[in-house]
Symmetry: C2
Subunit: 446 residues, 2 copies
Amino acid sequence: AIAGAAAAQGQPDVAALRDAALKDDLAWDITEGLTTEVGPRLAGTEAEKRARDWAVKRLTALGFANVRVEPFDMPVWVRGEEKAEIVSPFPQPLVLAALGNSGATPANGITAEVVGFESFADLQAAPASAVKGKIVFVSHAMKATQDGSGYGPFGTARRQGPSEASRKGAAAIVIRSIGTDYHRNPHTGVQTFAEGVKPIPAAALSLPDAEQLQRILKRGQPVRMKLVLTPRNIGKRQSGNVIAEVPGSDPAAGVVLVACHLDSWDQGTGAIDDAAGCGIVTAAAKRIAEAGVPRRTIRIVWFGAEEVGLFGGLDYRAKRGGEKHAIIAESDFGADRVWKVNSQGPATAKPAIDRLVAALSPLGIVQGSTTRASGSDIGPMAADGMSTIELSQDGTRYFDYHHTPDDTLDKVDPEQLRQNVAAWTAMLAVMAHAPEELASPVRPRN
Amino acid sequence: AIAGAAAAQGQPDVAALRDAALKDDLAWDITEGLTTEVGPRLAGTEAEKRARDWAVKRLTALGFANVRVEPFDMPVWVRGEEKAEIVSPFPQPLVLAALGNSGATPANGITAEVVGFESFADLQAAPASAVKGKIVFVSHAMKATQDGSGYGPFGTARRQGPSEASRKGAAAIVIRSIGTDYHRNPHTGVQTFAEGVKPIPAAALSLPDAEQLQRILKRGQPVRMKLVLTPRNIGKRQSGNVIAEVPGSDPAAGVVLVACHLDSWDQGTGAIDDAAGCGIVTAAAKRIAEAGVPRRTIRIVWFGAEEVGLFGGLDYRAKRGGEKHAIIAESDFGADRVWKVNSQGPATAKPAIDRLVAALSPLGIVQGSTTRASGSDIGPMAADGMSTIELSQDGTRYFDYHHTPDDTLDKVDPEQLRQNVAAWTAMLAVMAHAPEELASPVRPRN
Ligand SMILES: [Zn+2]
Ligand SMILES: [Zn+2]
Ligand SMILES: [Zn+2]
Ligand SMILES: [Zn+2]
């Protein structure tokens, strides 16, 4: 009873903070500002550097403490020219975008016959003789889902397709974009050639182009494609994580880490991926800071270089993974409404999780898993066993825009963005102040 | 009464033909075939030549009579490189497409300050001193409408904006695309510099880019843009109209002309603009041909070179405008459902129009104007006073795709396409067989 009374003392009014956040404008201002005043910000480029400067200035102006950049180096790949055309039997251009770390064609391109596969599994099953010297084309049938669960299995065509094609001697690979829209905006994304595998040109066709190529192949005549892709590896460059804090009253209670990523792909302005995430977590932290000193330090991290291989998250883990983290969470799945909360943590955290679930319910958020939660940059630390909260967003239209030129501010719905801020505000109101032990007893090695 | 009995003789069962057309596959086959096997087909290019060859082969195979090409020459403008970027204060690329007949920048581009106007009227009202040496930007607020009526007034920014900007000494002009979607696919379209006006580079920004530029301008700092546009005029080339007929039993009754245009803009495959139109009118004509010999000859014209200035329609009018046309009609507003029928013609045609209105009603089509109807290639002949039928399609989403790379087969809804075929079949069943005089007594000069 004494502990209960102590716990009640200094606890914020979670419901009031949550409901006030439904009128939030800060998340929008950050999203609008970053996408307008910086725009695209590919990891390791001058644009990402400008984004870090913008972030430091903005987070400082918002009154956060300990605002700083933690730099790290990472290899940088940049897009070049990208053109494709059917040479025969039906000459016409196709729209595509190189995948991250794609190899290059000569400047004047390559021309080869196309061999089509309906899935990554079909490519795997094919003999090398069917592929050698050809341009591999992999289509698939990913559909939009609320939880985005198609991205894992269907995304294999992007993540492993290029290596598999290269192993079989393909001249290049083009895949149907890992996306769900019908616009001529291809979906890029990272892939990494497996150890010892020769990089080959690798690109994604927009969905209309992929289906056009399927129709052309179905005519049964040999199809020849010309491909010009001239991306380059420009060596190691600097990226960095931008960190800001709301200092807590009890350093021994561990930090509450709320994250997003600052870098974006190069063709859109990274509004839903992930300026909105930075807006959401920062607006929520600001609201908690204004409500009084929390028990735990809230650490905001705008990670660098997520898109191209989680470099920021891994750098943070290497440098700070050994610190006591009460709980970690990241917003990186767009700006549509939160519909589910997943969590992982020790038994001692259960009362706090229960209070959180109750506080989220009026926002239309249901309880998901209580044993498994993750995130993008924080994924490796979550896998290490750190206590994690995952506020799952509605992903039904996420893969319409994900990693395309179409990821722009107009795709952010201000009302749904506010619901996100309310959910994150409730989460921080509960977790930053919780009297219970939230941290996992297992401390990750690093 | 004798005339009535004669009229009834040999009249087709309009309702039965109409309803059978709701199961049509031919319009889809033509649309799919032309967009897949030819793809983009800019007027006067090799691609449009391939489209004519395809059309002749297909129309011949369908059993139409007098299949032929009527060639004509026209000036050809082709797209070059097109790139734009904000140089300061917020460096970032913008997506745009040159407008038809745009002037060119030097190969390495031009850089100038941007001056923004919220409408064409604002540009008109501006003193030359506000514009001279600058890149003019015109935004506007066109919204989607069922009848597409915004295209006239808002389209002024595209049609007259470049000439107006040039007169005032602008270095170039970029407009917000005349479109209603939020995708990074700019809407091109034709514009013609007024007599004596120097061509300047002229392009359309996609809507997300146009709104980005507005946000950047609103920050109040001088905005500098770099623009690279290298289109070229390649001189006179050949285009042509493809014509096919269903011969009628009564040459004196005049022809019923049903039209579409074969050419398309260069970036999409011209599915809704206007392969679908060719599919619709051809499928309807084929159904009437199969039902027996009509009284009037049905003449199908797949016009060439519509997009770049109605060259095909004007050539037809010059060569054949003096022939007796009982009625003319064109399908060139996408593939969504017909919702209204407009007509113009002599009083003698009224009973036939009434029968048509009754036959269209079960398809959910209402009567519109009875004194004014038009079309694209046939527009000049309709303006001359020829009897015209206009089957108006739902244009709510037409300007989402119009003149963009996104005009591809996936935008065609097979069910709505069939409703179009049913409407055109009913129209031909009534008009090709009507015993009444349909032709306007005023014969156009030519
Ligand atoms: Zn992301
Ligand atoms: Zn991403
Ligand atoms: Zn058209
Ligand atoms: Zn058009």
